[in-house]
């Protein structure tokens, strides 16, 4: 009888409540493990939840879109999206940040996470989720390594709409791992630029705004 009750309950729980997807957003899947992997020297972290809507509303959204060189698009790229930022500590000392964004890819969602030092330089680039025919090539370590030490200044001369470099920029050294994967390659670069802009707005006090020249 008890087993029967357990079975029936299990079935109901499975058919009515189980979502086969984790909660939507851009959180690290396993923050304890991922923080330690991206910042081996860390001893702890704090989690901040921020959104463009709460931080500055329409005017901030406009400013971010200008810096990005593209408008926020579609059903999911909106001002009320909650961003999760991890502040990484070694003892009581703040040593860096981890932040991820969702990006529309050619075949599905892409989640690009960046581990950054306090100056906003990329320490590590990481695809948490990538639905692409070329996922294997994108997830090879050598692709992510191309982003290390870059910062927002490098990305200002990258046009996310045309995918072209418009001035001196270290972004031009980043190589697409598969010629057929151009849409996903551009999506990864757009996500990185957007990620860096949001960190600058939310955490770095617009340190990189002085390098921005409106087109």
């Amino acid at each position: 009888m008890n087993m029967h009750i357990i079975n029936l309950t299990l079935i109901l729980v499975l058919i009515t409540t189980t979502s086969l997807f984790a909660a939507v957003g851009c959180d690290l899947n396993d923050p304890d493990r991922d923080v330690k992997r991206l910042f081996p020297e860390s001893t702890g972290y704090k989690t901040l939840y921020l959104s463009i809507e709460k931080k500055g509303g329409k005017s901030l959204l406009h400013q971010i879109e200008q810096r990005l060189g593209d408008n926020f698009k579609g059903l999911y790229e909106t001002a009320d999206v909650p961003y999760t930022i991890y502040q990484i500590y070694r003892g009581k000392e703040l040593v860096g940040y981890i932040h991820g964004v969702n990006q529309k890819g050619q075949y599905g969602g892409i989640q690009v996470f960046l581990a950054l030092d306090l100056e906003g330089n990329v320490k590590a680039f990481y695809f948490q989720k990538l639905t692409s025919k070329y996922a294997k090539q994108f997830r090879e370590a050598k692709f992510g390594e191309q982003f290390v030490s870059l910062n927002l200044k490098d990305f200002y001369n990258y046009d996310v709409v045309s995918g072209k470099i418009t001035g001196p920029s270290r972004v031009e050294k980043i190589k697409n791992p598969a010629a057929e994967a151009e849409p996903d390659f551009r999506a990864a670069l757009r996500a990185t630029k957007k990620n860096l802009i949001l960190v600058d707005e939310f955490l770095l006090g617009n340190k990189y705004l002085k390098y921005f020249k409106p087109q």
Binding site: S19, L20, G74, N102, G109, K129, A135
Partner: protein, 396 residues
Amino acid sequence: MINIFQVAYKNLLRKKTRSGLTIIGIALAAWVLVSLLGFNKGYESSLNSDIDNLGYQVLVTAKGCPYEAATLMLKGGIGLRYMKQRIADSIAKQPEVDKITPMLMQAVFDPNKGESGGITAYLGVDPKTFPKMKSLLEFKQGVWFSDPNAYEAVLGYEAAELEQREVGDKLLIPDKNIELKVVGILKRTGTQDDGTIFVPLNALQNIFDKKGELTGIGIKVKKDADINKFEERMYDLPDVQVVSLSQVKQTIMTLVSTARVMVLSIALIAILISVVGVINTILMSVMERFQEIGILKSMGAMAGDIFKLIWLETLVLCLSGGLIGTVLALVTAKLTDILIRRILPYAPRGGLVRIDFSLVLLTLGLVTLIGLLSGIYPSWKASRVRPLEAIRSEVE
């Protein structure tokens, strides 16, 4: 001229702390009672709504499926069990059956989901029968697929958000490297449908090489049919497991009833304590006003007048407590909901505590009745006071 209500009210104000504490006692009892009755109503109705949202009353799965469904979550669907599509055809011929919808669940391991990979699941549904059974589902964008063989997908809202898909986009089935065209995005439902990727049944059978195989059949029974008899017959089918949602509901309600009985007992104890508190307060007030009642009687007040006065005081106490308790229950309904959700092993979606006007009236009626009953003894005692005895006791 001062009326009997004002006299009763002023009498209670003479001992503010005592009256206040008695009212708080009644309010707490009323609060527990309203919340409990609200939970009783809300839980069942939310559970019904959860089951109604499924669109079918009976689910037939391949034997062992519940365990394999757990495997699906853990190991990527490699252990799923299947039944033949002809079972669906034979079930459809049963006289009690109104509609059936065959389903096939498939999952792939996506190594690029998270650090160590993850599962992406697809539900193959019949475009002719599934949308009719799930008539409550609404679209944010697009429509259901119309061709059972089309390589198309309809995504629940959360699935679409995770995959950043909109109508017209492509969706890749990892591992199989097959592209689907997104034709619809559902609105949020708060159910498992939000995280589901729906694909036409035949197309999914082709993609996963499962021609003629199913993992589940949803059955909607005719309104006047004997569902128990039908279920009994379904249990005789070989190699399938029958999940009766009415039975599931009953099981869940049985599990919850244990908690409900416990809370009801606490509410009854709280009510009993507050009844004793009311009797005590009024009785003390009568004792203290022994001489005063004697004087009132010597001035012409009848036993009935004194009884009415004291009974009214009891009623004012109980009604005030009842009103405060009801308001408290209304204000804290959300909080109670959250607390109950933490305690219960399974809680359906929707409000667990539903307090409506009839419930408020019922509680106030109950509290009034309790007040009237608990006021009988002190009022009777006061009405029996002999004027001369009372006045003499003051002289002594």
